[in-house]
């Protein structure tokens, strides 16, 4: 940590990981309800646990993005944050908004629109907080009078994310029009502007973890995010096949969304080639793992599993089944959860004022349990989704009868989900207790007697 004000990031990360734990608890609860019967049916039915689960996800990932930006922007622009006070105030308002919103859901205060359930007043708070955040970031860069491509891409992603939230404020009379614009937010976020955020953070981490040449990295970053928009903007139409809009969207959606995996594969190659030069020599092995993990898992979850059901002839049968949940979980985890956790594990040693870059065994367990847990969950959703597609959508067997046959897959979902949850728990333990303590459980992973690590030395070694 080079600038004092970067420490605000720590508090953003605290909020993020706490909400993450809560999100997972509600995910497990929702999965248990699939099996039924549900003792909480009349107190906290599925619709509420599920909307809290997904909304907490969005809130904490955005909290992580903002924290990451407060860490990255000062470092890239080489200046203190414009207003630390504003950054803290904004975090408090944001956290209160998040907690009020999910508490409201328990009592049925909801806009009932998938992923955009926030009631209108809460949506306004979100817009105001985002504006305050962008103002603070903008003024920081302006004050410094200098910005890098890496942070530029990151900030462009954040600005566009805020802009694309605006259609969510409008209530359309025609349900189809409402669905049409819901995707301007949801799709253009995860398959558009959030990829700028992921790409920016990935470049930042790779440059620091591998010592790769900045000019080269930033050049390719432009290519990756260029591919994102070439495919992702018209790719929105893979959500327009069956909703009552003109038929030409089927052709556009099929063609361009099939190109979307390119930018995710691009990121995987990007990470691979950066790290091939320096190897895994950076002492913060945990951050390295999360960073590579994000590049690999987003290529699998978004790239391969997205491609699996994006073609109209396939989507016709899988649309509206658990196949969507299969893809949604691995893609979201790979692209956005893992990149935020990578930023957190990378920044933590500096944020808590420790010089040595260390990663604990506990942190590694947290990583592998989440990776394998998510793999298992994806398999459980996939097998359930395939059976559901076949029985319900192809054979026209009743929905409820089909769900009976899925019980074994739901048990597998809960089992692997529990494994995943243990991983999250360990991450929290590591974050709150082990990373900050100078002794217990911490071992340095740098080789004994090796010279202190530096990007320049690593680049040298890689030659």
């Amino acid at each position: 940590m080079r600038f004092k004000s970067q420490r605000v990031a720590y508090y953003y990360f605290v909020v993020a990981v706490l909400l993450y734990a809560l999100q997972i608890a509600l995910g497990l609860l929702s999965a248990a309800k699939y099996l039924g019967p549900d003792p909480l049916l009349h107190i906290l039915p599925f619709d509420k646990t599920k909307e809290i689960h997904t909304n907490l996800l969005i809130v904490w990932v955005l909290t992580g993005f903002m924290g990451a930006a407060y860490y990255v922007v000062p470092e890239e622009s080489r200046t203190e944050i414009y207003s630390e006070k504003l950054a803290y105030g904004q975090l408090i308002a944001w956290t209160l908004m998040g907690l009020t919103t999910v508490t409201g859901y328990v009592f049925g205060w909801t806009a009932g629109n998938k992923l955009l359930e926030q009631p209108f007043p809460m949506k306004l708070v979100i817009v105001v907080v985002m504006l305050a955040f962008l103002f603070n970031i903008g003024m920081t860069i302006r004050k410094a009078g200098r910005w890098t491509t890496t942070e530029g891409v990151l900030v462009a992603g954040l600005v566009s994310a805020a802009l694309l939230y605006l259609p969510a404020l409008i209530d359309f009379d025609n349900y189809t029009v409402g669905v049409f614009y819901r995707w301007w937010t949801v799709h253009l976020w995860v398959e558009g502007v959030w990829e700028l955020i992921q790409g920016g953070l990935l470049a930042f981490l790779l440059i620091r973890l591998s010592g790769a040449d900045r000019e080269v990295m930033e050049k390719w970053l432009y290519v990756i995010v260029g591919l994102t928009f070439i495919s992702g903007i018209l790719g929105t139409a893979h959500h327009y096949y069956w909703i009552g809009v003109p038929k030409y969207w089927v052709a556009f959606g099929g063609f361009f969304s099939a190109l979307e995996p390119l930018s995710f594969f691009g990121m995987a190659v990007y990470a691979y080639s950066a790290l091939r030069r320096s190897g895994l020599s950076h002492p913060n092995r945990l951050a390295l793992h999360w960073t590579i993990g994000s590049a690999v898992y987003s290529a699998l979850g978004a790239g391969i599993l997205g491609l699996a059901h994006t073609w109209p002839a396939v989507n016709k049968w899988t649309h509206g089944t658990l196949i969507t949940a299969m893809h949604g979980h691995m893609a979201f985890f790979g692209a956005y959860v893992m990149i935020v956790l990578a930023m957190i594990t990378y920044a933590m040693p500096g944020l808590i004022g420790r010089d040595e870059e260390k990663s604990s065994a506990l942190g590694m367990w947290a990583f592998w349990l989440q990776v394998f847990g998510m793999f298992g969950m994806t398999m459980a959703f996939a097998t359930a989704g395939i059976v559901q597609t076949y029985l319900e959508h192809i054979m026209s067997i009743g929905y409820l009868d089909t769900q009976h046959k899925l019980a074994v897959h739901f048990i597998m979902l809960i089992a692997t989900g529990s494994l995943f949850a243990v991983g999250v728990l360990l991450f929290l333990l590591d974050f709150f207790f082990v990373m900050v303590s100078p002794r217990a459980g911490v071992r340095t992973t740098a080789r004994e007697g090796a010279a202190p690590w530096s990007p320049a030395a690593a680049a040298e070694a890689g030659k």
Partner: protein, 270 residues
């Protein structure tokens, strides 16, 4: 390639595709009224849409295939079930389902009569949206047809045989007969099993409670389809206030020869 060139690539392609996307969006607005029958968006339909959102239906159900996967898709439900059944269901879902039997139960959302009417109007409007043939085969809430002859739902009948045509129609949606009637012995869905209906129809005519005009089994089946409430099969969950939960609009929905085919098919279930 230099960094300047790749930046130009990024900015240029983003701009180009954003412009195409917005152009297509404008054209979509031009066409959407026709594709969604927007002229039928009455105040009642709009009120129903508000109830749909307020009550968070989308976080259990899918509609147009979007939402959550805990409960059945409702895109065509209005077509499949009709207002009489849906009103009773929405008033109290446990009339028809139980957690013991079905593992899942829709909680009673305490909807008022007015809200139920509005929701049904909304779901009816949705069922008429031009979804380009989705779902490709009927999505049913329940029913497995064990032992029924295996004509796949939605498949075109290959012959001109009225019985085969009738069976294919029976499994299509609309009219979605198979969503409410199993042809397996003793399997009750929303309506009674139609196994052996040809034989049973003859007995119904002798029932002292029978008030209809049919004289033969064939006429009875035809009458059951066209005027379900004329004679209501005894059963706790088949009707409310003497009005059958079977839709009463098949005379408008189906052509005369289609009714003939259905009757011909049902007459083979002895």
């Amino acid at each position: 390639m230099t960094k300047r060139q790749t930046r130009l690539f990024f900015l240029g392609s983003t701009l180009l595709f954003a412009v195409i996307f917005i152009g297509l969006t404008l054209d979509t607005h031009r066409q959407i009224t026709a594709l969604t029958h927007a002229e039928q968006l009455t105040p009642e339909v709009l009120a129903g849409k508000r109830v749909w959102h307020e009550k968070n239906c989308t976080n259990c159900h899918t509609l147009l295939g979007e939402g959550a996967y805990y409960a059945p898709d409702l895109t065509k439900i209005a077509d499949q079930r009709g207002a009489a059944y849906l009103s009773q269901f929405l008033k109290n879902p446990s009339t028809f389902y139980s957690e013991e039997k079905d593992r899942r139960l829709m909680p009673n959302l305490n909807l008022g009569d007015e809200q139920i009417r509005q929701l049904i109007a909304f779901l009816t409007w949705v069922s008429h949206i031009d979804t380009d043939g989705w779902p490709p085969r009927p999505l049913l809430v329940s029913g497995t047809f064990p032992g029924a002859r295996t004509v796949r739902a939605g498949q075109e009948a290959v012959s001109n045989d009225p019985v085969a045509l009738g069976e294919a129609l029976f499994r299509q949606s609309p009219p979605a007969c198979s969503g409410c009637h199993s042809t397996a012995e003793g399997v009750q869905l929303v309506g009674p099993s139609l196994a052996g209906i040809a034989t049973r129809a003859a007995e119904r005519l002798k029932d002292p409670a029978y008030r209809g005009q049919a004289k033969t089994a064939e006429e009875y089946i035809r009458e059951s389809i066209l005027a379900p409430s004329l004679f209501v099969v005894p059963g706790a969950t088949f009707a409310a206030a003497g009005r059958s939960f079977m839709p009463d609009n098949f005379d408008r929905l189906l052509q005369a020869n289609q009714i003939d085919q259905l009757v011909a098919y049902l007459m083979t279930l002895k």
